[in-house]
């Protein structure tokens, strides 16, 4: 028997919930309107695709899977003309609204009516003198977003949230191993490599390609700790996935003792928002800085700069 999500690593809680909804679908032919929430690169779309690949039609065949990029939907008329009428109406299909926070307001408002299914599995949406039937035994609707706070709250209330977490190091190491089957890894080197991907599965796959190139260039089939150091040196990747801007912020804080966000902005040339969103979050996650109005480097942050100086 085919085990759902067997090819995907990590996200055990997500797997459990989705497996439950697959089992429920087999009995009821319906599925809640799932909202996949998580940072980019955590596998929302891939899990949605795998989930959809297990949904069967009433005739036993597999349902097609339609991925829509919501940022390209302009209005309800366009949606009905280009998507609903040719692809969804009367079909058995699974639809993923990716980047759902980009849905335009009139589509969102229509969805409030369409996905308000407290009693029935069928909604006949009337719009512009036309009837647009939605049969949730035939059509499954999934949503994904990196920014759930931007999704209209009443719509979010109608959806069932599945939260994706950062991948742990073991899962990332497994992904690397699978991507690079022909290379044998020293356990510590594999662990260090996994740490550079910052919990992100997509980055992990990208990193695997870099490692593959490195091994090809160096004619290696075994990747050791020494190789990891050399790999970091030639590719410019810093241990723990700290990027050059984050490193620069750490260096400034160590030199100055402390700095305000405005001072860091002036010294790095980055906007305050970019610093807060892209730089400080990761450094705080690593416990390299602390913020109490001013920004300070921690002992761990200082040790990191010492250990990686000259690399």
């Amino acid at each position: 028997m085919e085990v759902p999500f067997a090819e995907l690593f990590g996200q055990d809680r997500v797997k459990r919930r989705l497996s439950f909804y697959l089992d429920a679908f087999k009995k009821t032919s319906t599925c809640p309107f799932l909202l996949m929430v998580g940072a980019k690169g955590l596998g929302k779309t891939e899990f949605a695709r795998q989930f959809a690949s297990h949904l069967k039609n009433r005739d036993g065949g597999y349902r097609p899977f339609l991925e829509l990029n919501c940022s390209t939907i302009r209005n309800l008329e366009q949606f009905f003309d280009q998507i609903y009428i040719p692809l969804i109406m009367e079909s058995e299909i699974t639809v993923l609204f990716d980047e759902a926070h980009e849905l335009p307001r009139d589509v969102t408002n229509a969805f409030l009516t369409i996905f308000n299914t407290e009693k029935d599995d069928y909604v006949n949406f009337r719009w512009q003198d036309g009837e647009h039937p939605f049969d949730f035994k035939k059509q499954t609707f999934l949503f994904a977003t990196t920014e759930p706070d931007k999704l209209f709250a009443p719509l979010k209330d109608r959806l069932t949230t599945i939260a994706f977490e950062d991948y742990n190091t073991d899962a990332l190491a497994q992904i690397l191993n699978v991507q690079l089957e022909e290379i044998s890894f020293d356990e510590k080197a594999l662990h260090e490599l996994a740490l550079t991907t910052r919990g992100n599965a997509r980055d992990c796959v990208k990193l695997a390609k870099e490692v593959y190139k490195y091994c090809q260039v160096k004619n290696k089939t075994i990747f050791t700790e020494k190789d990891f150091a050399d790999f970091c040196f030639v590719t410019g990747i810093n241990p723990l996935g700290v990027n050059d801007i984050e490193r620069k912020v750490l260096t400034i804080l160590r030199r100055e003792g402390q700095a305000s966000l405005q001072e860091l902005s002036a010294k790095t040339g980055l906007s305050r928002t970019a610093l807060q969103r892209d730089v400080e979050l990761h450094l705080m996650k690593l416990n390299f800085i602390k913020i109490d109005g001013k920004r300070h480097i921690t002992r761990a942050g200082s040790n990191y700069i010492d250990a990686t100086e000259g690399t």
Binding site: A52, L66, E67, D81, Q82
Partner: protein, 90 residues
């Protein structure tokens, strides 16, 4: 008594009498275009008179005001394509 109009230089001092181009004295000559073509390649830069260039290349033309058609902005937006990907599983 009528005084001659004094022209000033850029630094504010009066222009020296008799300076400037005499009437009929022009530094441009006329040559056939074929001579230029024979001498220069297609990307060569040629110095031409500004006025001449404006007259020959920057003519102001009447741009007709677009006739407002009975098309709403909503209908125009429909023309934009929604990006999608359809996967079929075996």
């Amino acid at each position: 008594m009528c005084m001659a109009k004094v022209t000033l230089n850029k630094d504010g001092t009066p222009r020296k009498k008799g300076s400037g181009r005499k009437k009929g004295s022009i530094s441009l000559i006329e040559i056939p275009l074929s001579e230029l073509i024979a001498k220069l390649d297609a990307d060569a830069v040629v110095t031409v008179g500004r006025k001449w260039h404006e007259e020959n290349f920057k003519k102001v033309v009447d741009v007709p005001t677009p006739v407002e058609q009975n098309v709403s902005s909503t209908e125009q937006k429909i023309q934009e394509k929604i990006a999608f990907k359809l996967t079929k599983f075996n």
